[in-house]
């Protein structure tokens, strides 16, 4: 209960204004607000380490600054916007409310595991230790991270989870150590909520809304159901580790959210903003999250500013760089700060005595054991591209290649890390590969959910659309539906159809 209060009041309240500014009335705002709050707490912890002060004071400064900036931006936007454009937006609440209810209801199922106050190994050795250090203030944090006796706690890990744990302890005291674990699990649920609402948006988005006739309602229902199932599936792939306070699901789900909103849903400022926030959260949660977020942000930059774009090259490249650096700035700043104080990660400190081939074989076997969903996802991708490609294009979704490139990029990075790293490979894989592959697993389940929605749409609309399908060279075009009335786009999806 205390953790829920902390999530809603301590993190959600300071994050609600920026969340609504980005997501408008999309239900993702509910999950984005605590994630933004957690991101601000991480920035506060970085300030505590670099400049001093306590996490509470720094958090208040960051929260006030961010909210003032959002208010200023909003006032400027209201002044510039046409009054008619603001007034004529359709106000549809049914689907956002239903989506929110289903996603929250489904997230409640795995969260019941919090009744058992379990604290896992890493949750103790890494996250609770770091939360104590952040709680203790600048001196405690600086000396703690530099203390060789704490080397086991991976002192270079980013500060989001410890900062949130420390804030919770500041609010409620150190009487219940499980509070920090509760916060981690609830934040993971929020990140999965962002993924789920993104999947729901594939079926409630402008493409399907515009399709009209038979396909709309079944696809919408399928999207909401798939969104709920996806939220539970996310916890399923992470197993017991997630409810024990491990942070792998948090960064993986946040990164998956960035992929869904930035590399799957149609182009829009809203989707881009949500993707950036999710990527920033992933980058501030774990080192793997930072690397994955950078890969995703590069792909988002290339999708929104394609290499084929006409115009001044230097300016376009500057924009692409800004697309990557801006959301990754907090994570990169932490990585720079932690190296500046002389703390480095332990993975590459010593060379392994094992042959690279031995390590590679063990890594492939270890990773494959956790990717049972991959063949199904590949088969569904092939069938989807054959049977439901036009429906996917009509829904305005991106080419699935973006998602698969992200998956492959993550797997290649993981593979290289295991092969080049210094730890004994079988021990290393045994203690981590089930968690390091969570991101790819979540993404593949999300891909299944998206194709499911598209297939439902395709099955119900093929009579309407079969004869009207036009060849499309652009992978993300939303063609007009001949004879079908275009619905006004719901306001909570404002901005999505700007291709």
């Amino acid at each position: 209960m205390r953790a829920l209060v902390m999530l809603a009041v301590g993190l959600g309240a300071p994050g609600i204004l920026p969340a609504v500014a980005v997501a408008r009335r999309n239900p993702v705002a509910v999950f984005l607000a605590p994630l933004i709050g957690a991101g601000m707490a991480a920035v506060a912890a970085a300030i505590e380490l670099g400049a001093g002060g306590s996490v509470v004071a720094d958090y208040m400064v960051v929260a006030v600054a961010v909210n003032l900036a959002v208010i200023a931006w909003w006032l400027a936007w209201l002044r510039a916007a046409q009054p008619r454009a603001i007034a004529t937006r359709a106000r549809s609440w049914e689907w956002p409310v239903l989506t929110l209810a289903v996603v929250l209801g489904c997230l409640a199922v795995p969260l019941m595991a919090l009744r058992a106050p379990t604290i896992g190994w890493d949750a103790n050795s890494i996250w609770l230790t770091h939360a104590f250090m952040v709680y203790g203030g600048h001196h405690e944090l600086l000396t703690g991270l530099k203390n060789v006796a704490y080397q086991f706690s991976n002192p270079d890990y980013p500060p989001l989870v410890p900062a949130v744990g420390a804030l919770a302890f500041k609010f409620f005291g150190l009487g219940n150590l499980h509070l920090a674990t509760d916060m981690t699990v609830l934040l993971s649920a929020c990140a999965l909520g962002a993924v789920g609402t993104g999947i729901a948006a594939t079926g409630i988005g402008p493409g399907i809304a515009a399709a009209g006739r038979g396909g709309r309602q079944p696809a919408r229902i399928a999207a909401v159901v798939a969104a709920g199932a996806m939220c539970i599936a996310g916890f399923a792939v992470s197993g017991l580790s997630e409810v024990e306070g491990y942070t792998d699901l948090l960064w993986a789900a946040a990164a998956a959210g960035a992929v869904i909103w930035g590399l799957v849903l149609p182009h829009s400022a809203q989707a881009l903003g949500v993707a950036w926030i999710c990527a920033a959260v992933a980058s501030l949660t774990k080192n793997e999250g930072l690397i994955t977020a950078l890969v995703i942000l590069v792909l988002i930059a290339l999708r929104y500013r394609p290499l084929s774009l006409p115009g001044p090259t230097a300016r376009t490249w500057a924009e692409r760089a800004a697309f990557v650096v801006l959301p990754a700035l907090p994570g990169l700043a932490w990585a720079g700060l932690i190296r500046q104080i002389g703390v480095h990660d332990a993975f590459f400190r010593s060379a392994s005595a094992e042959a690279p081939l031995t390590r590679a074989e063990a890594t492939i076997a270890g990773m494959a054991a956790h990717l049972a969903v991959a063949p199904v996802a590949l088969a569904v991708l092939a069938a989807g591209c054959w049977f439901a490609r036009a429906d996917r294009q009509r829904a305005g979704l991106a080419n699935p290649a973006w998602l698969w490139i992200t998956c492959l990029g993550s797997l290649v990075t993981l593979f290289a890390t295991y092969v080049i790293g210094g730890f004994e490979i079988h021990w290393w894989l045994g203690t981590s590969v089930s968690r390091t592959t969570i991101f790819v697993q979540v993404l593949l389940y999300a891909e299944l959910a998206i194709w499911l929605v598209m297939a439902v749409e395709g099955a119900f609309t093929c009579s309407d659309w079969h004869s009207s399908q036009r060849p499309s060279s652009a992978g993300e075009r939303v063609p007009e539906a001949p004879g079908s009335p275009r619905e006004p786009l719901p306001e909570w999806h404002h901005g999505l159809p700007t291709q």
Partner: protein, 125 residues
């Protein structure tokens, strides 16, 4: 005829996609429900509550038996207990990597009645 068979083919293909994706998602949901059920049994909750109480007991024992700010060396028979001692010493004592720099040596030993079967042992180095 060709158009009609195309429609039927598309419907069958879409149904296959829905079935494959639906089954995969449903299996995953089923797995999570089983997992959640297994960790919400009264016995499991009781065991985890005891472990948490043990951890909080050790946390308070450190604060009761070790002077604030003391340089400590943590050493227990197993790695988990050693790391837990270092973690729970944070904010109170300063763990040292080298025993020569420490004034106190902390370890967890089996004991009846203390912290659910464990007791904090504090010795001067």
């Amino acid at each position: 005829m060709g158009e009609r068979s195309g429609r039927v083919g598309k419907r069958i293909g879409c149904a296959a996609i829905v079935a494959a994706a639906g089954v995969a998602l449903a299996l995953s949901v089923h797995h999570d429900v089983q997992l959640t059920t297994s960790v919400t049994t009264p016995q499991w909750i009781a065991e985890q509550t005891v472990e948490l109480q043990q951890e909080e007991c050790i946390y308070h024992a450190i604060r009761a038996q070790v002077p604030k700010g003391a340089a400590v060396y943590v050493a227990s028979p197993d790695l988990y207990a050693t790391q837990r001692l270092a973690e729970l010493s944070t904010l109170w004592a300063v763990p040292q990597a080298n025993i020569a720099n420490a004034r106190w040596r902390l370890s967890l030993v089996p004991a009846r009645g203390h912290c659910s079967g464990l007791a904090l042992e504090v010795r001067r180095t």
